[in-house]
Amino acid sequence: MQNAFLIGLSRQVALSREMDVVANNIANIDTTGYKADGSLFEEYLSSSARTDSGGRVSYVRDRGVWHDMNAGQVAHTGNPLDLAIDGEGFFVVQTPRGQRYTRNGSFQINAAGQLVTTEGNPVLAGGSPITFQPNDRQISISPDGTVSVRQGNGTADSVRGTLTLVKFANPQQLQKDGGSTFSAPAGVTPQNTTGAKIVQGALEKSNVRGVVEMSRMIEITRTYMQISSMLQQQSDVSQQSIDKLAAVPN
């Protein structure tokens, strides 16, 4: 009979982790370039405590978290350094911990004239950052990532570099690294993108859907409470059996 408690417990542990995932999604509902997470569960079979009963007991366990890699909505901002990716692909960012990949295209120019993320990490174009001159103006970024400017009073475009866009054969292998970035585990190498376009003056919003997350949350809470009441009933059954069986006849 203890199995019922343990099965209930396994579900509650898994549910509370799923709740954490949902809470993180909702907290990031307005985070540029954020990708929603979902939980994966699996059945875990185990022989029961009493082998003579023949049956096997199935527990639940959370197997992993998958990333919803669907595009978020693209919101127009009008700021020339806001970039959104239309299609599959990531910007490459050089962080102190190594290269990271992001779809958050809210970029800035730092004091050295480099194109950087809001955290100050340079955005890479063919392995090196893009550097602007002090008198560059009218920054325009073409759909293929070519960054061109007008220098000084000149009327001709000068090219400052082409932003690198990469994609992955299986984006699920990427690991979230905070700061709206992903890191690639060892053995996972980025490939060149095909067909992805850069949209200037727009940002990709978070792809978290409030309605979906709210309904998932209701489902989690209700299931969790049902299991709590199931555990309660189990406890009552144990209590009664102890009271009845161990009652001293008078």
């Binding site: 549910l15 509370s16 709740m19 954490d20 995932v21 949902v22 809470a23 993180n24 907290a27 990031n28 509902i29 307005d30 985070t31 540029t32 954020y34 997470d37 959370d62 197997r63 992993g64 978290v65 901002t77 700021n79 958050n104 809210s106 800035q108 120019i109 730092n110 004091a111 050295a112 004239g113 809001t118 602007f132 002090p134 008198n135 560059d136 103006r137 007008r150 000084g152 009073n153 699920q172 292998q173 990427l174 690991q175 979230k176 905070g178 709206s180 585990p185 060892a186 996972v188 409030g210 709210m214 949350m217 989690i220 809470t221 409470m225 709590s228 009441s229 555990l231 309660q232 406890s235």
Partner: protein, 262 residues
């Protein structure tokens, strides 16, 4: 339960978002005001099981890991330095900048600050000053009883002195550029200060090196777009509500557990 603190970070972020939006809306009609945007990023992840971990001696690998996030953080309030609309005022000492430059003004303590607000006045000595009385650099003194004050696109200030019929050029206003305008530190009173992030000021003349032209009798409106601010406000408010629902849901889950003990 982690969900409680995760939702709390979400609520704090949205509170800050509302603050930024309300400041933008409050400055909707402030001359030369540049709107701000709160920028968010996800916080660190707890990698409960790492993707790519070997699960057997045969080299099978976990195709997905368990990454539990811990919420959201505000990474900065980005100032959007786009051009505001220009409106005609008819006042001879109103000057708007069409381009990236800033007017340089001297503060009472002798240091310099930068502004896009070109609603100038004259002080008792006839110098061109801002509405707070800070002298616009380089200091240009307008002789008394002169007429026909003109500021051309290159910033040259000329007047017709008393008793004369030909205009005299008194001086030329300068404009200052920064490689990273968004890195300037706002000081209030429509003034900005240079910071290590903005880069050193590059003084120049209007109409050169992208500093922009000047337009007399015109003021630059703030670049706040009320429609997008209101939609952002609605998003922020709803996101705040959803995060508070997460807290109450997590609370209910914990309550149902604590009720097990009687």
């Amino acid at each position: 339960m982690r969900a409680l603190s995760t939702a709390a970070t979400g609520m704090m972020a949205m509170e800050l978002n509302v603050q930024v939006i309300s400041n933008n809306l409050a400055n909707m009609t402030t001359t030369g005001y540049k709107r701000q945007r709160a920028e968010f990023q996800d916080l660190l992840y707890d990698h409960v099981s790492r993707v790519g971990t070997q699960t057997s001696a045969q080299g099978n690998m976990l195709p997905v890991g368990i990454d539990l996030g811990s919420g959201v953080k505000t990474v900065g309030t980005v100032r959007l330095m786009t051009q505001g609309n220009l409106t005609q005022t008819g006042n001879q000492l109103d000057v708007a900048i069409r381009g990236d430059g800033f007017f340089k003004v001297q503060l009472p303590d002798g240091t310099y600050a930068y502004t896009r607000d070109g609603s100038f006045n004259m002080d008792a000595q006839g110098r061109i000053v801002t509405a707070e009385g800070n002298v616009v650099q380089p200091a240009i003194t307008i002789p008394p009883n002169s007429t026909g004050l003109t500021i051309n696109a290159q910033g040259q200030v000329s007047v017709i002195p008393q008793g004369s019929t030909t205009p005299t050029v008194l001086g030329q206003l300068s404009l200052t550029r920064f490689i990273n305008q968004a890195g300037l530190l706002p000081m209030g009173d429509n003034l900005y200060q240079e910071t290590p992030a903005s880069g050193t000021p590059i003084d120049g003349l209007p109409g050169t090196d992208g500093a922009g032209d000047l337009q007399q009798a015109t003021l630059e409106q703030s670049n706040v777009d009320s429609v997008s601010e209101i939609t952002n406000l609605i998003t922020a408010q709803r996101a705040y509500e959803m995060n508070s629902k997460v807290i109450s849901a997590a609370d209910q889950m914990m309550q149902s557990v604590s009720n097990l003990m009687r």
